[in-house]
Amino acid sequence: MAALAASARLDADDVLRIRWAEPPVDATTLTLRREGTTHTVGLDGEAADLSRLDLTPGTWSVHAADAEIITTDPGFSLDGLVEYARRARRRALRAFRARSGGLRVDVRAVEPYAEVTAVHPGEEKLTLEGFLAYGANPDSAEIVATRRKTAQRVTGTVSVTGDHWHAEIPIAPFAVETERGFWDLRLGGLTVATWIDDIPDKKNKVRFPARHVARETDRVRVRAYYTDKDQLAIAATVVPNAEAS
């Protein structure tokens, strides 16, 4: 037995709204299931309020009575994900369609952070843009790159308008490397990452152009990159003058 949804979306208040293509026999309750745990919630018309459920982090399947809900809706829009992340919260839900067609709700514990939406590598400085996610509040107007090996720092400036931020970091100070170094970013104390564009594992999917800082006998290639956790970081690599780009 399956129930077929033509639309199943979570709004920013964690209300799951379902429009049925083929409604289940019993459309009065929904059950969320994960690893033997179940939560049942009333379905008021086509809306189920998930905000009060004690859902542990992980992926939950959604059922109407005993029928797994199959959906033809991807479950979210990219604009909807941004709107959702602009609210202060410590738990983030996301509805999506599994490959099998089953409706799923992904639950994550979240911390406020700085979401990156654009990276502009300039000749002299790296400019970043984004917004403050989950109610983030930077504790300073600085973006700081910290070298993993030595905790050396490079500092840049941040301006915030509403929840939109704009940051600039000079490139020249990264030319302290002797081989290769990695620098992690914090914006006003916040993690800097791109997590809500529906592109997980960005390291090999999105690459930014490099810029070069000339030194006497060699150059340092400075490139923003995504780490394994999709946080934005900076790689600085010494290249001989013969090896351009």
């Binding site: 604009d79 654009a118 152009p209």
Partner: protein
């Protein structure tokens, strides 16, 4: 009836494999169906295959199976194939070892029908398969894609096939002309889509999607050039390219040179292309040629309009320009960018094309495609006994 389908590699990803699995699944409702993969490099296929279909392989290339290789296998894998014509587009995959097992497989084949899925395998079937088996050669490439040398072999051996199945009418005409005077029949049967609920786009994401191997024939260099023009005017639109291939690094460099790093993501392979299509609002094809274009039909079924270069052979036969998609003169980068911009700026038009595309997709339902295969089987049986 026992149907054996021979494919070069069932374990990878791509339109031909998806189409073959869909066909095997549909035919297995009424027949005993096996898929035989010449090569195997993974434990399980990347794409899902119905439980009703048996899958086996001839040359197991998984590293952990090496210890079971018999004497001579390793050296034969390094020796070039003599069974395949060097102009077979996948010649480099074949070897003296694949020649050996393929020859044994084909000469010992016990099946009522053998379906082969590329030129090299069609020729091998014509040469080696036993007389009692009905031989059907499928062409997933288009006629003009074959180089002169292999075309000579095609001319020499295809007349021994019972039927050639093309994906497009244009190819049907080319093969029918070539096979004139021989008993071989030519049928056009497109690739089919499985029935059942499919993910549907709401056209609410500013996302353009492309899918296919990152190789020259897919024309992603042309796509990036066109998208650079689009992003100048509509920087809020993103391009997602699914697939992997030998040109990945080159295309990445081109994207960075074109300043597209905030607009383009190379998403890698996916086993849920239908789900990913449904997250997009426009599907693009910039191929230099496209034997069919499985993703066009899949995009239509997901309610996503398609913008494509008017390249041979599939796109102009599947897409009705201005109705369910837009065809742009092949290679005209500016016109391609303009076509994308025109749809980005006209959501109503996008919705109209999407609605029409859903109707076009109905023609490619697996059940209908399966019926056409069954009609062909009956036709060929009749021809044999007549």
């Amino acid at each position: 009836m026992k149907i054996s389908i021979l494919i070069m590699n069932a374990y990878g990803m791509g339109g031909t494999i998806r189409a073959t699995f869909n066909l095997a699944d549909e035919l297995s409702r009424r027949h005993e169906v096996e898929v035989v993969s010449v090569f195997r490099h993974r434990d399980t296929p990347f794409l899902p295959l119905s439980d009703r279909v048996t899958l086996s392989s001839l040359v197991d290339l998984r590293p952990e199976t090496r210890k079971w290789w018999r004497f001579g296998v390793a050296s034969r894998l390094k020796k070039p194939s003599t069974l395949m014509h060097p102009e077979e587009r996948a010649y480099d995959n074949f070897s003296a070892e694949s020649d050996r097992v393929l020859t044994r497989h084909l000469t010992d084949l016990r099946a009522d029908v053998l379906v082969t899925t590329r030129a090299g395998l069609n020729i091998a079937a014509a040469r080696l398969a036993p007389a009692g088996v009905t031989l059907i050669g499928q062409e997933h490439l288009h006629f003009g894609a074959h180089k002169p040398g292999i075309l000579e072999e095609i001319r020499a051996w295809y007349p021994k096939l019972d039927a050639v199945v093309t994906l497009t009418d244009a190819d049907h005409a080319a093969y029918a002309q070539m096979l004139e005077g021989s008993p071989t029949r030519v049928y056009t049967i497109g690739n089919g889509l499985p029935d059942g609920p499919r993910p549907q786009s709401r056209l609410d994401n500013r996302v353009v999607i492309a899918a296919g191997r990152l190789v020259r024939v897919k024309g992603y260099d042309r796509l990036l050039d066109a998208f650079a023009k689009v992003a100048e005017k509509r920087p809020d639109w993103k391009l997602r390219i699914y697939g992997q291939g030998t040109q990945a690094d080159k295309l990445g460099r081109r994207a960075r040179r074109l300043n597209l790093h905030n607009n383009v993501a190379f998403m890698g392979p996916t086993n849920d292309i239908e789900g990913e299509l449904a997250k997009a609002s426009i599907h693009v094809i910039t191929s230099r040629f496209e034997g069919f274009g499985m993703t066009i039909v899949e995009a239509f079924a997901a309610g996503v309009p398609v913008v494509s270069f008017d390249c041979p052979q599939g796109p102009p036969e599947i897409i009705t320009s201005g109705e369910d998609g837009l065809l742009v003169p092949d290679g005209d980068i500016d016109a391609f960018a303009d076509a994308l911009l025109s749809l980005m700026d006209d959501p109503e038009e996008l919705r109209r094309l999407a609605e029409n595309g859903r109707r076009t997709a109905l023609r490619y339902r697996s059940s209908e495609v399966g019926d056409r295969w069954d009609e062909m089987f009956a036709d060929l049986r009749h021809a044999r006994t007549a």
